[in-house]
Point group: C2
Chain length 160, copies 2
């Protein structure tokens, strides 16, 4: 049975912030990455499309970088939302993060044709700045590691 | 007049290595990034598609990461090809690189709707391992900086 993220933070973003090519549910042409909790970790699952090749048989690095990037912002949003709920109780709007920096180590060629799983650990650096450590697996094989520093979306973005 | 890379290394890759979603000329659905020399720098120019948004008006980070990634492998190929030509004279097959690591610092929100220019400086770490420092501009504005460590494609890729 195909593994699936049931409850994803991207489903809760307000419409204004749901247009990301990586993870926006309203972007018709995008990847629709969806990130949820899996125990204390975060998880995003995505099966690359036929055209997402580096060379035939392997996934191109840009897709893995995109996955780690959006998985990072989604994971930070999940974590801060959880913190806000714990502090204030009840429901909490998912905060929207943007990426300050992204680091990817490509460990093994990533085989094409199977779902990729990004598994994240979230760390609070300070209330507006979070770090997400991600491992990307193709089936059981660790193919890439990522580190995303992500910050709450600044006003320069929102004013557009 | 739209600026364009006239002579790109990706035009010279053998057909087997021209399927990358980022920079493969044979990948019908891909970005077709093309990387050439501009003086002592390397350059890749790409105008994001309408759907390549983070939020409306800004380019999503995954595309910038992909651009820096393929610009990095292309730049290293250009540099090693040039070195080989200087050493051996005549024509030289463009060596095919893969990315070992990718680092992106997002400096400013990247405006959507204008061509992006990745400008690279290439450094030889050792004969099979090169580093490419890249700055990504939207018009005159520096929006992101990247660092790619790239290595000659290992046999594990080619054996597929």
């Amino acid at each position: 049975m195909e593994e699936k993220v049931l409850k994803a933070i991207q489903d809760e973003y307000s419409d204004d912030f749901a247009w990301c090519y990586g993870c926006g549910r309203l972007n018709e042409n995008g990847h629709h990455f969806r990130t949820g909790w899996q125990g204390d970790n975060t998880i995003t699952i995505y099966k690359p499309l036929p055209e997402h090749t580096a060379i035939p048989g392997f996934v191109y690095g840009g897709l893995i970088a995109s996955l780690i990037d959006c998985h990072g912002t989604g994971s930070a949003s999940l974590a801060l939302q959880q913190k806000n709920v714990e502090k204030e109780g009840g429901n909490s709007e998912p905060p929207r993060f943007v990426t300050a920096s992204l680091k990817v180590d490509f460990i093994k060629p990533t085989p094409h044709g199977v779902p990729l799983k990004a598994i994240g650990v979230v760390e609070e650096v300070h209330p507006k700045k979070w770090k997400v450590y991600t491992e990307v697996f193709a089936e059981e094989t660790l193919c890439a590691k990522g580190e995303v520093v992500t910050v709450i979306m600044p006003a320069t973005f929102k004013q557009k």
